[in-house]
Symmetry: C2
Subunit: 353 residues, 2 copies
C-alpha cells in the first residue's frame, strides 16, 4: 500500500477511528500524489478515491496497483454505494478545519455517519515532520527564492512600482523552474512597509525608500517563505536602529530553534526582547512550511508546539511603526539537531541599492 496512507492508517487505529474522509486537496496530494478534485475515503479495508469525469482519465493514468487505491467515477457511484462504503464503521474522522459547515452536513447524511470525529490534527501532525524528498523540494524552492532576491537587487530601480516588482518575482519563479509563487508576494515601499500584509500598489519606488519584500517560490507543491529589506540610496539612523533590533531578535530566536524546544517559549523570548525597546511583536514569530505556506507548528504566545528534527519553520520577527516604517526579516529553517539550518540563505546585512 502507498506508504503515507499506511502510516495514516496506523494513526487512525491509534485514535480508534474506523475510517476517514479526506476532502482537502492538499491532504489528498500529500497522501496520494493526486492533484485532481475528489474525495479520498478510507473505509475499514479499502482506500477509495472518487472523482468526476473531468479528472478520471488523469487519475487512472497516475495511480498504480501498488498504491491500493480504488478509483471511481462519481457518476458510477449510487447513493446506496456511499452508504455501504462505511456501513461497518462507527467512528469516522474528518477535517474539521477544511470542510465547510454545509459539506459537513452533507457528509453526515450521504455516508450515514454514526460518529463524526474531528481528525484534522492527525493529518497536520503527519505533515509536520518532513521526509528527505520533501526537504529537498523545500530547499529547491528556497534556492530559487534566494536567486530571485539576488536578481531583484539589480533589477529594482527608482520609478518602478511595487506591482511591477511583484510581477517580476512571479516571472522569475516561473522562468526558473518553480511551479510559481507560494503565496502572493508582498512588496511594500516607504510608509507602506508599516503594514505587515501590504498588497503591492502602484506607488513608485523613491530615493530614500525602505522596501520590504516577503516572497517565496513553490516547487513540486512545496513552499519557501522569506522576507528581506532593501534601502534605496540611504538609510535613516532610526531605521538602522530598528533594523538591528529585529535582526538581533531573528538571530537569537534562530539559535533557540532546536529539536525539543517549545515554540511558545521562543515567541515569548522575542516578545520580551522587543518590550525592552518599547516595541511590540504584532504577529506570530513563525510557522511551519510545507505543502501549505502556513502549517503546523506555529510560534505564538498562545500555544506550545515542541520542535522536532526535520520540521521546516520560519523565523520572522518584525517591528512596525504605523504610517511610517516597518521591518521584517524572515528565513525558512530546517530543524536539525542542535544546529538549525537556514534553507533561505540570502544576505541579511543592511543592503543599500
Amino acid at each position: 500500500m502507498n506508504v503515507r496512507i499506511k502510516k495514516f492508517r496506523e494513526e487512525l487505529s491509534n485514535e480508534k477511528l474506523d475510517g476517514f474522509i479526506v476532502y482537502n486537496p492538499v491532504n489528498i496530494r500529500y497522501l496520494t500524489g493526486l492533484e485532481a478534485e475528489g474525495i479520498l475515503i478510507l473505509s475499514k479495508y479499502d482506500n477509495i478515491y472518487i472523482t468526476d469525469s473531468r479528472y478520471i482519465e488523469e487519475v487512472r493514468n497516475k495511480i498504480t496497483i501498488e498504491d491500493e487505491i480504488i478509483v471511481q467515477d462519481i457518476k458510477q457511484v449510487t447513493d446506496e454505494d456511499l452508504i455501504n462504503l462505511l456501513y461497518d464503521c462507527e467512528r469516522i474522522g474528518f477535517e474539521e478545519k477544511y470542510i465547510t459547515y454545509s459539506n459537513y452536513r452533507n457528509m453526515i447524511m450521504k455516508f450515514r455517519i454514526k460518529e463524526a470525529i474531528e481528525g484534522n490534527d492527525i493529518l497536520d501532525k503527519l505533515r509536520e515532520v518532513k521526509n528527505k524528498k520533501e526537504v529537498e523540494y523545500i530547499e529547491t524552492a528556497c534556492n530559487i527564492t534566494d536567486s530571485c532576491f539576488l536578481y531583484l537587487q539589480d533589477f529594482i530601480k527608482v520609478g518602478m512600482t511595487e506591482k511591477e516588482i511583484a510581477f517580476e518575482i512571479q516571472k522569475f519563479f516561473i522562468e526558473n523552474n518553480a511551479d510559481g509563487v507560494a503565496f502572493d508576494s508582498i512588496v511594500a515601499s516607504g510608509a507602506n512597509t508599516s503594514m505587515p500584509h501590504a498588497v503591492p500598489t502602484d506607488k513608485e519606488i523613491e530615493y530614500g525608500d525602505p522596501i520590504l519584500i516577503d516572497f517565496g517560490a513553490k516547487y513540486k507543491g512545496y513552499c519557501a517563505d522569506m522576507t528581506r529589506m532593501l534601502f534605496v540610496g540611504e538609510i535613516k539612523d532610526k531605521y538602522k536602529e530598528i533594523y538591528n533590533i529585529v535582526l538581533e531578535a531573528h538571530d537569537k530566536a534562530l539559535e533557540k530553534m532546536k529539536n525539543g524546544a517549545d515554540t511558545k517559549a521562543i515567541s515569548n523570548y522575542v516578545i520580551n526582547e522587543f518590550k525592552m525597546y518599547s516595541y511590540e511583536l504584532i504577529h506570530a514569530l513563525g510557522h511551519g512550511v510545507g505543502l501549505d505556506v502556513h502549517e503546523k507548528p506555529f510560534f505564538s504566545p498562545k500555544n506550545s508546539y515542541i520542535l522536532k528534527n526535520n520540521m521546516v519553520v520560519t523565523d520572522e520577527p518584525g517591528i512596525y511603526i504605523p504610517g511610517e516604517f516597518g521591518v521584517r526579516i524572515e528565513d525558512t529553517i530546517l530543524i536539525n539537531n542542535s544546529q538549525p539550518e537556514l534553507l533561505t540563505k540570502s544576505n541579511k546585512n543592511i543592503m543599500i541599492i
Copy 2:
C-alpha cells in the same frame, strides 16, 4: 449607511434574522469594499468590523463615517464584548458554505449564539444581479481577455510549451491594467484538450495540434471567463465536425439566455442536442460570474435558477473524447431583456494559426 449593507439588512429582516456574521472575505468586500482579513458582524443596530493589527491602519483609512461601520482591533475586544454584541439576538445568520466546521463551532461558543441560521443564499442572491458599476468592471475584464486572445494568435508558435503560453496570459493581464488572472488559465494542446480541467504542462505545441485556452482577467475584483480553440496549421475533418456541433449548441443556448428563462431547461436542451450526435455534456453548461469566477446562478440538469436582467453568466458547452480531443467554446454574457449581450467578443469561427 453603506447602501449594500442597508439592502442586506432588509433581506435579513425579511428572513426574520436578528443579525449576521460574515466571514467570507469576498462577501465582506462586496458589502464594504474592504480587502483585509476580519469579520463583519451585523448586530441588531450596529455594523462592526473586527480586524487585527496587521490591517487596522488600512481599514481605518478606507471606512468613512457614511459607511456606519464601527472598526475594532481584535486586541481591544474581550470575550465579554463578543458575547454582548449579539446578546439581544435570537436568530443569527452565517455562511454555511464558507465557514469551516471548526470555525462554526468556535462562532457558536464565542458569540453565545442561540440559533444559527444558514444564510449563504441571502448573500448569494444579493450578488446575482449586478449593478452598473459591476457590469462595467466585468466588461473591462472581458475586454482585456479579448485583447489577450488577439495577442495570443500572433504569439503562439510551434515549440512553445503550454506553461509558457499560460504565463504569457498572466503577463499580458498584468501589463494591461488587470488585477491578474481570474483563475489559473487552462492551456491544453493535442490530446490534453480532452481533459476539461487540464493543468498546463511542459508539452510543446506541435503542427496539427488543437489548442484549448480557458482564461479570464480580473479587474477591480471582478472576473471574466472565456474559452477559445486554436488549430495549428490544419484541422482534421472529425475535429471540425465536433467543433461545429459545440458551436451550434453554444449559439442556440445563448439565444435562450433571457430574462425569465430557466437554467435547468437550457442545460437539458444542450444535453439533448449532444445526445442526438451520441455525445455527452460532462460538465455544467454555465455559471454566474462576478467577484467569484463561479457563483450563482448555475446551469445544470439538477437545479433551476430563473435568469434575470443584469445577471452575468457563462455559456460553455463542451465535447471531450478521452485521450484524443476536446472542444469547449465559452463566453461571458450579460442577461439583458430578450437580447443576451456577449461581454467576451472574440471570434468563434474555426481559427487556424
